[in-house]
Structures are given as structure tokens and as C-alpha cells.
Amino acid sequence: MKRLFPWAVLLVFASVPLWLNDPYLLNAFITTGVFIIAAMSLNLLLGYTGQLSLGHVAFFGIGAYTSALVSLGFDVELLFGIRVVHEPWPVWSGFIIGTLVAGLFGYLVGKLSFRVRDAYFVIVSISFAEVTRLVALNWVELTQGPLALTSIPPLTLGLPGIGYFDFYSKQSNYYLVLGVLVISYVIISRLVKSRIGRAMVALKENESLAVSVGIDVTRYLVLAAVISAGMAGAAGSLYAHYLKIIDPDVFLFLYTITMVIMVVTGGKGTLAGPIVGGLIFGFIPVIARSFAAPEIQWILYGAFMILILFVLPQGIVPAIEKWFGVSTEADDARQTTPASAKTQDAS
């Protein structure tokens, strides 16, 4: 019964473009979906591995810009008069390269987080994101600065001879985002339920104990950072090719906060948390737009987040789980432990 639940949810969401005609709402679904992917990736780093990385938007933006630039082409002069010219490449290659480049930065951040700790790491991660924003803003030759990169082509898939498909319409982008979301979910789900996932949690819970148990904490942290960053970069790429325009505002700390709110209120360290949090915070603006100014909405988000942190510090999903006496996480352990049968009797 419980196993069917995710499938049912998926089916419901897959059906949306079939009956929803309002382009504004469809757009909301798409951008919310993109942010949910980014929030899931942040959850891997923040929730499961326990790294306070508040520069996550940097990976998102790097993925967006890289993908856009690969598909648009560019012509820049670097130092010493070296000129780099890049011809436009197909969008799918931009997507892949954007993901990889974001992942590479994730690698650097991962390596860094062992050198710089706790509060200092938080500060460094934010600084890193701000620097990327300022670079995007000021390196006008490459990024057009505040004038934005425009005319970003949509993703095109296909094979010569058979035909090509442009992901131009809202409907097609919806399914594209949904598809990537499902794949991302599966990746994270498999990861956290495995030996690798256990090592990440161990490293979050008690690093020195994890070390003494023989876990190579650096390796797992870096792995989490790379996957997390790459996934955020993929989300950024989808964003860029959907909106077809990207400007340095994509690097605003505001978006990191948005992702953090989604993860924390939804439930960090749970699979469903970022999705629940994402849906809530993705759609409140939609619902509230007619009767509350954006500033008021943000004031409410801030207040809501504080409220959750005070009342339900684990987030909404764990609270729901506790309320209904179910758990979505530890099922596998339970199902394969014969002791669980005894536990029912003993307790």
C-alpha cells in the first residue's frame, strides 16, 4: 500500500498538463519543479550529509549560464590577449556540460569544507555564491551582465532521419522537468538507502565516530557535494532553456534562501521533505498573488519558517509521519529484519 503511494503521486502530477490549461499555473508548476530539483540536491548536502552550504544557488546559476553559453556560443578575450571563441553546440550537450561544470565546483566546495569548518564554512559558501554573481554581473563580454543572456534555445532531442523534437511549449517543458525530477529523486533515494548513504548520515551525526568506524569521510562528503552540485546545475540548465533568458539575478542569495526554506520546512534528511516544502513555497506566491504584495508574502515565509523551526524543528514530513505512525524511511531495514516480527509482540 505504502509502496504505491509515490506512483500514485507521480500519476497525478503526470496528468496535470492534460487538464490544466492556464499557462500561468503551468508555468508555476514548471518553475516549482525546477526549484524542487534544486531543493532535493540541497537536501542531500544539508539534510543527509549535514553540510551547511548556503551557496547552493551558485551551482544552480553556474549550470544555467554554462548550459546557455554552450548552446549560444561566445567570443571572449581572456588575459594576455588570448581570444576564446566557441560555436553554438546542441542544447543537450549544454545540459550535460552545465551539470558537469556545476559538479566540478561542487568538488571544490566539498574539498574545501574539510579545511574550513562550521560557521566559517557557511560564510565561505555564501561568499562564493556572491562572487559568482558579481562575476556574472561584471564580465559583460561573456555574460552580457545585467542585460541578460537572451534567445537561449530550447532543448532539442531527436535523431537524424527520425525527427527532432523541440521542448518549446509549456507542456513539453513540464514533462521534461517532471522527468528530470523523477530521475533525480530515484538517484537520491538509491543513494541514501545504500551503504554510501549510511556513511553520509554517519558523517553528519558524529564525524569522529564515523572516522573510527573506518569511513573515509572526505570521500563521502565530496561525493555528496559533487552529486548535489551537479543536480543543482542540471536544474539550472532546465531553467535557462525553459525561460530562454538568464540574468545575474539567478545567483541571488534570495534563491538559496528559497531552497533552504523548502528543505527545512519540508523536512531535511527526508526524501519527501523538499518536495512537500517545494510545493508549498512554490505555490503560495501563486495563491497569494492576488491579495498580498510580494513583500508581505516574504514576511509570511520568514515567519512561517521561524514557526516551523520552533514548533516542528524536524520539518513537516517527519511530523506527519509521526502523527500517522508511519515511516517512509526505515522501511527496508524493518522489512528484512525478522526481529521486527518479534518486536510487535515484545513491545
Binding site: 544539508l46 551547511l52 574545501l112 579545511r115 574550513v116 569548518r117 562550521d118 560557521a119 566559517y120 557557511v122 560564510i123 565561505v124 555564501i126 561568499s127 562564493f128 556572491e130 562572487v131 558579481l134 562575476v135 554581473l137 561584471n138 542569495f253 534562501i257 533552504v260 527545512v264 504584495a293 513583500e295 508581505i296 516574504w298 514576511i299 515565509y301 520568514g302 515567519a303 519558517m305 521561524i306 523551526l309 520552533f310 524543528p313
Partner: protein, 290 residues
């Protein structure tokens, strides 16, 4: 050469107010170990308060400044009591996120009330700058510089010559021992946050008069405060002061000789560079005894 000298003058003025920001945060960060994201918002709060008092209520500029500092102090105390005290036992992420929540609320309140357009404050100083040799400095800037220095001095005296300051220093060194020796740690935390916020508000009030006031001004201020604390070492007033001037110098030089767009990036680059090489800050003192 003249240009260089002008940069130095600018640096001194900017640095003195940055020092205020940094000292405020180093006290909070040092004694309470909180990543205080709301610090930048107190800075903005100070600026908006002066605007409200002097431009909207017609209060004398200097009195408005003083009121802004007091208001900052009270706001800090309020935040500590309502948000931080109940979170005392929570882990660092939770506290940090609560501070982010406070930051969101404050910033958007300002945006809602005054809009996103920059506001300016009128000051009673003559517009024409003072000329000293080949250099120009405005009367307002001079006032800001000396006011900031006075506040730095006052803070130094507070920390080093008063009973309150002694209790704060004891709490910084070893909270548990201080508590055992009769220090009311709860009260110290509130006082620390209030003082730190008052300093941030003072910085905002002063710089707000020089530059333009916007709701986003707190964001950069927050991060720059962190850069200053990292440069100067946790809990060190002298260090934060020096850090403030170093940051201002880096910004002036960066803006003047590299590109003005990257001015604000200086702070962040410094943070990253320093933490890469000295992960616990530049002048990091031994933080705890025992």
C-alpha cells in the same frame, strides 16, 4: 598620487564605520557563537530609523542618530529575547535559519513600507567639501569618521573598563566558569546582542547619511561584517577595527584600480582567501580555555 591620497581618505571614513559593523558582529559571534544573519538588517534598520526620524518626523539629525543607536539596541534585545533565547539549545543550523527568517522579515518590512527606491537623508552639514591641500573631504564624512571613532572608543571602554564588559569577557573565555562565578549568562547574551546590534545600527545610521538607503543594503553589510570578523579574529575589538580598515582599503583599491563593479567582491574574495589559508581566521586567538 592625489588619487591615491583620496582613496586613503575614503578608506579611513569607510573603514571606521566598517569597524563598527565588525566590532558588533565579533562580539555577538564571539560570545554567543551565532551566525548572525540579521546583523546586516540592524545596519539597515539604523539607516531607515534615521530616515524616519529626521526626514519623516522632522527630528534633528544628530538626535535622530542617537535615537537610531538606542533603537538598534532595543531591537537587538527584542530579537534576542524572542528568537534566540528559546533556541538556546538548538543546533547551529536551526539558530542560523531562525536568523535568516528574521532577516527576511525585517528586510521585506522595510521594502513594504518604503519601497525599493533609495532614500536619502538631509544633513545639516554644508554641501561644499572641505579642501585640505589637494584632497577633498566632505564635512559629513569627517563627522562620520569622528563619530565612528568615538563609538569605537566607547565600546572599547565598555568592554575593558566596566563590570559589564568584564562579565562579557569572562563569558567569551569560558561560559561555564563565568556562570559558576556568578555571571548571569542569560543577561550577558542579551546585552551582547543588544550592544552588537546598536553598533550595527550606528554604522547604518552614519553610512546611510552618506550613501543611499535601500532595503537590500543589509545583505552586503552582513557579509562584509563576516569578512571583517574573519580578518580580525573572533572577539577581538582591535582586530575588528583593523579588519574594517583593511576591508575598506581593499575595496577602495579594488574599485579604484581594478573595476568599480568588483568593489563589493573584494570582501568576499578576502573571506575566501583568508579562510583558505587560515581556516580559523587571520588573528585567531585561542578561543576557549579548558
Amino acid at each position: 598620487m592625489v588619487e591615491f591620497g583620496q582613496h586613503i581618505i575614503n578608506m579611513l571614513i569607510l573603514g571606521s564605520t566598517y569597524a563598527l559593523l565588525g566590532i558588533g558582529l565579533t562580539l555577538i559571534f564571539g560570545i554567543m557563537r551565532i551566525v548572525n544573519f540579521a546583523h546586516g538588517e540592524l545596519y539597515a534598520f539604523g539607516a531607515y530609523f534615521v530616515y524616519l526620524a529626521s526626514m519623516m518626523l522632522g527630528i534633528n539629525f544628530f538626535i535622530a542618530l542617537l535615537l537610531a543607536i538606542v533603537a538598534g539596541c532595543l531591537m537587538g534585545a527584542l530579537i534576542e529575547v524572542t528568537l534566540l533565547r528559546p533556541m538556546r539549545d538548538a543546533d547551529i543550523d536551526t539558530t542560523m535559519l531562525v536568523m535568516i527568517g528574521a532577516m527576511i522579515i525585517m528586510q521585506n518590512t522595510e521594502q513594504f513600507i518604503w519601497g525599493g527606491v533609495g532614500k536619502s537623508v538631509n544633513t545639516p552639514f554644508p554641501q561644499a567639501p572641505l579642501q585640505v591641500g589637494p584632497f577633498f573631504v566632505s564635512w559629513l564624512s569627517l563627522f562620520v569618521f569622528f563619530a565612528a571613532l568615538a563609538l569605537i572608543g566607547a565600546t572599547y571602554l565598555l568592554i575593558n573598563r566596566t563590570k559589564l564588559g568584564k562579565a562579557m569577557r569572562a563569558t567569551f573565555q569560558d561560559r561555564d566558569t563565568a556562570s559558576l562565578m556568578g555571571v548571569n549568562v542569560q543577561a550577558i547574551y542579551m546585552a551582547t546582542f543588544a550592544i552588537g546590534s546598536a553598533l550595527a545600527a550606528a554604522a547604518g545610521a552614519l553610512l546611510g547619511a552618506v550613501y543611499v538607503i535601500t532595503p537590500q543594503m543589509g545583505n552586503l553589510a552582513a557579509l562584509k561584517s563576516f569578512a571583517i570578523v574573519i580578518l580580525g579574529g573572533l572577539g577581538s575589538i582591535g582586530g575588528a577595527t583593523i579588519g574594517g580598515f583593511i576591508l575598506a582599503l581593499a575595496e577602495e583599491m579594488g574599485a579604484g584600480y581594478v573595476s568599480s563593479g568588483y568593489r563589493d567582491a573584494m570582501g568576499f574574495l578576502i573571506i575566501i582567501a583568508v579562510l583558505l589559508f587560515r581556516p580559523t581566521g587571520l588573528f585567531a586567538r585561542k578561543e576557549r580555555i579548558g
